[in-house]
Structure formats: C-alpha cells, structure tokens
C-alpha cells in the first residue's frame, strides 16, 4: 500500500528526515514514535504530498505520489497536527464542506456526519460555531474531518493531543474500526501507550532517522530479556565506569555525571551493583527499573527517556 524508500528532507541546516525506508501493508496501523522534532510531521507531510522530498520516493498503491498526486489525493485522509477548519461555521457545516470537497454528498454524507458526531460525543453541539468549542472539542472535529470520507490511506499526526481519556479511547476505536474495513493508517505519536495499544507495527524515530521498525514483540527483542535500570546519585562518570567494569553482563546506555542508564538482568545484578556503589561511598538518590517494553526499547536505542 505505502512504500517509502530512501526519503530525506532538510530545512536549512536541520536534517529533518534522514534516509528512511519502510513499507506499510494494506489495513495496517503503522506508528511513528518519536520525541519532539524527530521528523514525524515532516515524514507525514511528504507522504501527503504536501512537502517535496529532497530525495527518495514514496509510492501509494504502486503510484509515485509525485507523478500522480491528483489521483492519490482522492484516496487519502489527513489529520494535520495543527487544527484547520472554519471557526465561524458550525461543526455540521464544516463537516459537510470538507466531506463534499472529498466528493461525498447526500444521504451518505449526512449519515457519516451523524455517525462520527455520535462517536466523538459532540451530539447536540453540532450546530454551534466551532469558535465556541473547547480546545479538545476542536481537536475532535479536526480529527473526524479527516476520517469522514473513509479514506483508504489515513495519515494522522498526533491526533490525540489534548483530548480526554474517554474520547481518546473512542477515537482509537474508530481508527481500529477503519483499519478493520481495510484502511491503512499511518499514525504519529510520542505517546508510548498509544503506540503499544494501537499500532500493528511501530517505527522508532529520532533526529530524522528510523532507529528500529517492527511489531511490539520484535522491538522488545531489541532489549532482549534484560531490564533497564536508571540510577541517579552523586557520582562522577569515572566512579560509575569503575563500578560497571567490575560487573559482567551490564551494557551502558547513557552515562553522565550523576546519571546512569544501563541494561542488565535486574534480578541477578542489582544487589551486587548496589553493594559496589555502597563500597565506593557513593550515595544513590534513586534507582528505577524498567521492564522490557517500548519505553525501554526507546531508551536503549536513543539513550534518552521519551518524555510526555
């Protein structure tokens, strides 16, 4: 359905997207997980045909999007990160307008509008102008404008920011539902749980690069059976280095003054590690363990925590 090869894009000095390649199958929900500035929006924009890549190709249904943009647009639905609609018009008027623009009409359109208004809990408010909506309500409208015409390829750029948990759940459910009907979805987020929960496959992105791609299980394989320990305290890098060299089977992810992230088999190594710290007379303020999950994978790959 979607095939990206060697895609790159830079803005002035920033390499926003750096040689990424991937394939997304029909009906799959594919997630881009990455921190702010990772290049998620840039990638989505290029897939949507809104941004010209510096190099590389994007194919949708084996059609090169640069060669036949008009044909591909009809099958695409995009939910931009920034809200885009007409504030003076009501929710219903907006949905009608954007639906018609995508070629929908009549009963079909009205039914679809009713369905989604119900789904996102805006029933009863549909005839208020959007400028009277709260931020979260606007986000919901922004989302369903992209879903309305049942696109075959759905591009969602962090659609759940600022939405309460309940609505978020129903939005995720809509996306799942659409995917069951065959919609291919590309979803960007910096929310680990959403990625874990929703996506069939995930690409972990940082600084324009894809660090790893796979299903949740495949990604967790990267960290193996090991846990990740984050240790904070008053120690220098030298001291930390000294302690770690005494132990076997510990892999350093990040080592800074007063901060240490390591990958290890926690049940076996933690007691002796703590002893070593104690013996050196270094005080530990905090030690936390992360089970193998997407978060630890991210940590392992980037050496940083993914902040919300």
């Amino acid at each position: 359905m979607l095939k990206i090869s060697h895609l790159s894009k830079s803005f002035d000095k920033v390499q926003a997207v750096n040689d990424i390649s991937l394939e997304v199958k029909q009906g799959e929900i594919f997630g881009f997980l990455g921190p702010n500035g990772a290049g998620k929006t840039t990638t989505i924009s290029m897939i949507a045909g809104l941004l010209k890549p510096d190099s590389g190709t994007i194919e949708v249904d084996s059609m090169n999007i640069q060669r036949s943009p008009q044909r591909i647009r009809g099958i695409m639905g995009v939910v931009p990160q920034d809200m885009a609609f007409y504030e003076e018009l009501t929710a219903r008027e907006n949905l009608r307008f954007w639906g018609r623009l995508q070629g929908m009409s009549g009963k079909d359109l009205e039914q679809q509008i009713q369905y989604y208004l119900n789904k996102i809990g805006l029933k009863g408010r549909e005839d208020d102008p959007l400028k009277k909506y709260s931020g979260g309500m606007k986000r919901r409208i922004n989302l369903i404008i992209g879903l309305l015409h049942n696109p075959r390829l759905l591009l969602l750029d962090e659609p759940t920011i600022g939405i309460d948990v309940q609505t978020k759940m129903s939005i995720l459910e809509s996306i799942r539902e659409a995917s069951q009907k065959g919609t291919t979805t590309v979803y960007t987020t910096h929310n680990l749980f959403e990625a874990e929960d929703l996506c069939d496959r995930i690409a972990i992105m940082d600084q324009g690069k894809i660090l790893a791609v796979g299903t949740l299980e495949e990604l967790i394989q990267i960290v193996g059976e090991k846990d990740i320990a984050l240790i904070q305290g008053e120690f220098s890098t030298d001291q930390a280095q000294k302690i770690i060299s005494q132990e076997k089977g510990i892999e350093v992810i990040t080592m800074k003054h007063g901060y240490l992230a390591i990958s290890l088999d926690a049940s076996k190594k933690i007691p002796s590690l703590m002893k070593s710290f104690f013996n050196l007379g270094v005080s530990m303020d905090d030690i936390s363990l992360k089970q193998p999950n997407l978060e630890s994978v991210f940590l392992k790959l980037t050496g940083r925590e993914l902040r919300e």
Partner: protein, 418 residues
C-alpha cells in the same frame, strides 16, 4: 466547477455569519450621500466648480461682446468658464462630445434689436447628458440677461454715446472689457427684477439621437455611485484577504490534500468577490432608488453595469494580491491604492475640477469608468455610448482575473507546505 461553487458557497456562508465589516462598508456611502444631499441639495452649484459654457457670437456687435464680457466678470468668472467657438456647428459637436455643459448662441440680430428697443433672445443649448450644471448656466445667463436689460433702461444716455463709438468698424477689446466692468460696477445695488427684461432667454435642450428616459443627474445620483465604487473595492478586499488567511490557518493546506486544485481555490475567491460585490451593489442601487429617489436609468443596462463593474473590481484586487505577502501588506497597499484611485477617478471630487493632465490619468481608474457608465445610464444616453464601457470593464476584469489566477497559484503554493 462544482468544487469552485462549493468553496464560494462556503465563503458566502462565512461572510453571511460575520457581516459586520461589510455592512459597515455599505453604510458609509449611504451616510455620505445622505449628508451631501442635505448640504448641497438646495444649492447645487456649490458642489461643482466652474461650468464650461461654449459661446457662439453670431452678432459680433458691441453689445454681444459686452454681454459675453459681463459673463466673465467678478464672481461669475469663477462660476463660468466661457469658451468662444467660431461656428454653431462646431460648438454643437463639441457639446455632443460632452466638452461643455451648455452652449450659448447670440443671434445675429442681437445688437440691432437692442438698438431698436425690442426684446431680444439669447439661445442656450443644454448638454443633454448633464442636468444640474446646465441648469446653473441657465440661471446665470438668465440673470445676466436681466442685468443687461436693466442696464439699457438705466443708462440709455450713456449707451447713446457708446453707439457713436460702435459706428467705428473695429472696437478694441480693452475698451469692451473696461466698459463692461464699469457697467457691472454701476449696476450693483440696482434691484434687477424691477425692470422688465428686454432680452428673454430662450432655452432649448439639444435633441438626442434616440428617445430615452430623461433622468436627471442629481447630487445624490453622483455621490452614491462615486463613493460606493470605492467601498465596493474595500468589500472585495475582505473576500481576498482570505487568500492569505486560509494559507496561514492551514485550511488551504488541508484543501490541497483533497482533490481540489489551487487554481480552483483562487477562482472560488474571485467568484465569491463578484457575487458579494453584486449583492452589495444591488443593495445600494435599491436603497438609492427608494431613499434618495435616484433614477438609475434602464434596469437591464444597470444590471449589466453592476455585474461588469464588480468583475473588474474583483480582477483588479486579485492582481494587487499577486504583489502581497502578508496580511499587513495587504491592508497598507490595498487601502492606499483604493484611496488614490478614488481621488483620481472622481469618487471624491468631480473629475472636471482637475487639471487636464490629471483628467487624462483619471481614465486609468476603475472609478472613472464605473461612474461614466452609471452617469450615462442615468441620463439616458443611447446604448451605443454605454456598451464600450461595459465591455471594456468586463474584458479588463476577465484578463486581470486570468493573469492573477496564474500568478497567485505559484505564490500560494510557495511556502504553503511546512
């Protein structure tokens, strides 16, 4: 086309829901017309500066020259711009071309009849396409004719002396003007209406090529279209501002993910501008007819003028937008262009009060052509006179629209996608 209409409908709905600015812009011409009507309604000559009057002196006697000379003395000099033309035929062609408001013909027996003490006539031919300027000319010549007859009754003795003078074949101009000044000075304070006029003023209106409605151009029917054209441009700009705003707000970005083409987006704005402009114009036209009793002339022609004028305005504003990057630039450039055009094009002061070279520049303004069209229809000029203007406006408007749709397309695409 379906998508263009969809977008236009959307814009129309948005403006309908937020009409404050447009309504404001519509009220200004109405208020102006109302005020001008009050201020100048009774003494129309105040509105307009010197009146162009052509004179044909068929008599060439001392008295005819004296008479014409009195018309250019003192206050009258500011009001009447008298231009002597050798033959009546030539004068009438000039009048038909609209070069003057009236033509005054002094018949060949003018002097002889005065000598004989008989009533004599001055012929005043009024320009059919104008109404209130010729009226003033008429009043003035009327008054001077009265003065003149008074003169002969009061100063009959002096005139006898002048007669001897006139026996000579050639009288120098200086003598004529000094005499007329003298006469004017001495006549001041004399209640002119005490004396029955010797010269009666016979006035006829020049026959027109075809029959037509005979509406008059009143202060209101000049002011309302004049100021309205200016504000129609401001209203048009409100629609075009969205070109930039939709880009900024991301709705254009979202549209460009749909099957919509950017050129369709641009045409939808032009169409919306024309439709909103026409509706606003019709509102003003109807209001003008009902409140200010303006007789607009033939309705079918009026509608055509309104449509073509608004197409021209939309095309022109669209062209201006090809030079604009930000909304702030739009505000500054648009208002200065609109105001300067209004000044030069006669929306603020009648063009006839400008020096000749500025009058030539006036022809490059939308205001000038719009006003000409309205004026010609109001005064019932034949279609032959109005067609060229209407077609010119339409043609220029369409050309502008096409050029700008091409230029704006690239401009909107640039930097749209971040």
């Amino acid at each position: 086309m379906k998508r263009v209409l969809l977008l236009t409908g959307k814009d129309f709905r948005r403006k309908w829901k937020n009409p404050v600015v447009i309504v404001g812009f519509l009220l200004i011409p109405v208020v102006f017309t109302f005020l001008f009507g009050i201020i100048f309604g009774s003494s129309e000559e105040n509105v307009l500066p010197s009146i162009k009057v052509l004179s044909v002196d068929q008599d060439q006697s001392l008295f005819s020259r004296l008479y014409l000379s009195t018309l250019t003395q003192g206050e009258l000099k500011d009001m009447i711009d008298l231009q002597s033309v050798p033959t009546e035929e030539k004068a009438r062609t000039l009048l038909n071309k609209g070069k003057a408001s009236a033509l005054m013909i002094i018949p060949s027996e003018f002097g002889d009849k005065i000598w004989a003490g008989e009533t004599t006539q001055v012929l005043l031919v009024k320009n059919p396409s104008e109404q209130f300027l010729p009226q003033i000319a008429e009043e003035i010549s009327d008054t001077t004719a009265l003065l003149f007859s008074a003169l002969f009754q009061v100063f009959s003795e002096e005139i006898d002396q002048i007669r001897e003078f006139s026996e000579q074949s050639e009288i120098p101009d200086q003598i004529i003007s000094s005499l007329s000044v003298k006469i004017k000075d001495r006549i001041q304070g004399i209640e002119k209406y005490v004396f029955p006029p010797v010269i009666s003023l016979k006035q006829i209106t020049q026959k027109k090529d075809s029959e037509s409605q005979n509406n008059s151009l009143t202060v209101q029917s000049y002011i309302l279209p004049a100021i309205s054209i200016m504000f129609l441009m401001f209203i048009c700009n409100i629609v075009f501002e969205d070109l930039l705003r939709e880009k900024e707000k991301g709705t254009l970005l979202r549209m460009s993910i749909s099957p919509l083409r950017i050129s369709e987006f641009i045409w939808s704005k032009i169409l919306a501008a024309v439709i909103i402009g026409v509706l606003c114009s019709l509102f003003l036209v109807i209001l003008g007819a009902v409140v200010f009793s303006i007789g607009w002339g033939r309705t079918d022609i009026l509608l055509l003028i309104v449509l073509c004028l608004n197409i021209l305005i939309a095309g022109f504003i669209a062209i201006l937008y090809t030079f604009i990057r930000t909304e702030r630039q739009a505000g500054a450039l648009l208002s200065s262009v609109i105001v300067v055009m209004a000044l030069l094009g006669g929306s603020m002061t009648p063009i006839s009060s400008f020096p000749l070279f500025i009058q030539k520049i006036s022809r490059f303004t939308i205001n000038y052509w719009g006003l000409e069209a309205f004026k010609k229809n109001i005064t019932g000029e034949p279609m032959g006179q109005i067609w060229p203007i209407v077609l010119g406006m339409l043609g220029a408007g369409i050309i502008f629209a096409f050029i700008s749709s091409l230029l704006l397309r690239n401009k909107l695409k640039r930097g749209l996608y971040r």
